[in-house]
Amino acid sequence: MTTYTRPIDFKRGRVDMSHGSGGRAMAQLIDELFVRHFANDLLAEQGDGACFALPTGAGRMVMATDSHVVSPLFFPGGDIGALAVHGTVNDVAMMGARPLYLSASFILEEGYPLADLLRIVKSMAQAAREVGVAIVTGDTKVVEAGKGDGVFITTTGIGLVPQGVALNAGRIAVGDRILVSGMLGDHGVAIMSHRENLTFETTIQSDTAALHGLVATMLDAVPDLHVLRDPTRGGLATVLNEFAKASGHGMLIHEKAIPVRSEVAAACELLGLDPLYVANEGKLVAFCAGQDAETLLDVMRAHPLGRDAAIIGEVIADEHAFVQMRTAFGGRRMVDWLNGEQLPRIC
């Protein structure tokens, strides 16, 4: 005979210390929340880890991890749940891999409303379904009130690299073209304008999206793609500087060619930010040989997540590996590493 357990009250309930204690309350949370919504056989086994076979003939694998600590947890265009799936899927995809499985670790703050946690988990489950990856293992910890920021989520993903794909910064060569997959700065500005309570004519939405599909079509058309990266924290400028340093070459980009929404440009002006340094969650930067650039651009533009793709610059010989930009005014300047925080000017 099974004893009756009262279901968790996801309407009015809150996270308490017992949800992380390893006892009955935690088991119940795992069953009624995570196992139910992430619904897959591997997770349902509830082992200490997930055990699975690799497809036959599998070559190399990719493993990537990412912690998500966004505030606010819900923002225009997304929430921490969708972000936690997309972020790690994208890290896997940037290595040229097809994502297979995810793990998810939750750090919950005591007192956090279970209704909001449910919303986050459902959003995560939906994002994972859309991507076609299963969340197969996880962990839950609860910290005392005041010691967390509601919910922190760490996801780890693994994926398979198709034969013949070799993406790395070492392949960047002078003459390579630099492409971006769309409008820059949407995510960072959506978060910041929400935080600062700024409203513009239209609400700027986060661009959070999983890019593995776009990457697959790009690799189909141009298997010789040199390298990919998603310009998250630190934005395009940081990615370019990382690649310049890793490859030892300079870069020259053209301000006029860089796609930025006018609302985002206006918001950046107001907040004293430079869109080149603002975070994206659904964009990528690609490097390919000069002769492949037009083909790559065409397939990117044909994909829904690459409609606004553009060729923004090229790799140049420069022993100092500086990133330079030709401004809309026709002058040149450097696009440097971000130093410290961007401080507001007072004059």
């Binding site: 500086f322 401004t327 809309a328 002058g331 130093n339 401080l343």
Partner: protein, 373 residues
């Protein structure tokens, strides 16, 4: 960038640049000083130097509020927070300026001093209201742009009878610094300056009239310009034309915001709260007579210098730092031996490397690729 206005601006800018190239006399040099850090920043950020003919040279001026603040004043601010246990409210820009003994406001804060970054003078007043049991000091710095907000909070504090709030006043005056630069032309290291790009925001407050006496006395043209890159190019064209015609006048490119009289209301509250200091020590320029403001006796209870008995102590700059010569236009950032090696925006040695408006920081961030050709 897909920002329609900037496309259009780009073409206008090239048109203006062509006009400058046409009128500039190849037989002579034009040495123009942009007084303001805001202009220095715009010139570097938009790569405007590439649009100018080689004989039109821009020289960075001292108009960066953080850069001209001497070390002794930062030391005093740190002492307020560490020795007098006040809540010190400061603009974010000043946090990283190097002070004595390897300290800065940022480091003092990390060591436990109660230092709060504020975005406006109002924020400081609010902190005072929210913490009635604590002594709160606003570290007021800047040119005429930031002076009226400081005056307004002193008046407001008087109205609210805030007993534990005061202001450490370090406001400085633009025209006095311009005069000082002309007077230091006698220095053999000095570069002769042919004309000035005049301040934008400062001039919205003080108007264009205060530059008239300057122009009459020194015979160098001043063109007041906005901070947009197009404003700067336009003002350079206007200066070149004046110099060619042998004229020296105050012209106003920034008519959309600056009038001859300026902002009368702002001037009135400043006059009510502040009076002229006999002299003030500027980083780079040294003691400059009648170049800064202090709080009038009537509001002495809000004057942190009196309240805490702050005695000013002059502290020399770091030995290697050329900020002094750079702020006077005598040297360029790359002339400093430690530029870009020991001194970078992440580890600034001098104040010019701290603020984004500082000549060294602007050159490091946007222009240093030019040094390696």
């Amino acid at each position: 960038m897909k920002y329609i206005d900037e496309f259009r601006d780009g073409e206008l800018a090239r048109g203006l640049a062509n006009a400058i190239a046409e009128v500039a006399d190849p037989a002579r040099d034009y040495r123009l000083m942009e007084f303001c850090g805001g202009h220095t920043h715009a010139i570097s950020r938009y790569g405007l130097l590439d649009l100018l003919p080689a004989n039109v040279r821009m020289i960075h001026g001292p108009g960066c509020p953080v850069c001209v603040l001497p070390i002794g004043r930062i030391d005093s601010a740190i002492a307020l927070a560490t020795e007098h246990d006040v809540i010190l409210c400061t603009y974010a820009d000043t946090m990283r300026v190097p002070a004595s003994e390897g300290l800065s406001l940022l480091k003092a804060k990390a060591q436990g001093a109660d230092i709060r970054m504020v975005y406006s003078a109002d924020d400081a007043l609010r902190i005072a209201q929210d913490n009635p049991q604590r002594e709160v000091v606003f570290f007021a710095i800047g040119f005429e742009t930031t002076t009226p907000p400081t005056a307004a909070i002193v008046l407001q504090a008087a109205r609210l009878e805030l007993a534990k709030f005061s202001v450490f006043c370090n406001h400085v005056l633009t025209p006095a610094a311009m005069v000082h630069i002309m007077e230091s032309e006698r220095d053999p290291a000095a570069v002769k300056i042919d004309g000035f790009v005049g301040p934008a925001h400062v001039s919205t407050v003080i108007g264009s009239a205060p530059y008239e006496a300057f122009v009459a006395r020194y015979g160098r043209p001043v063109v007041i310009a906005g901070f947009e890159p197009l404003d700067v190019i336009q003002s350079i064209l206007m200066l070149v034309q004046q110099i060619n015609a042998g004229r020296a006048e105050v012209e106003n490119e920034f008519t959309r915001a600056v009038t001859r009289e300026g902002n009368r209301k702002a001037q009135a509250i400043c006059a009510q709260v502040f009076e002229m200091r006999d002299s003030f020590d500027w980083r780079g320029l040294g003691e400059v007579p009648h170049s800064a403001l202090k709080i009038r006796a009537e509001y002495a209870r809000f004057d942190a210098e009196l309240r805490y008995g702050i005695a000013y102590r002059q502290v020399p700059d770091h030995k290697a730092c050329e900020c002094a010569a750079i702020l006077r236009g005598h040297k360029r950032p790359a002339d400093c031996k430690v530029f870009g090696t020991v001194c970078t925006p992440d580890h600034p040695i001098g104040a010019c490397m701290v603020s984004s408006e500082g000549a060294c920081a602007a050159h490091y961030t946007y222009g240093r690729f030019r040094e390696t050709r």
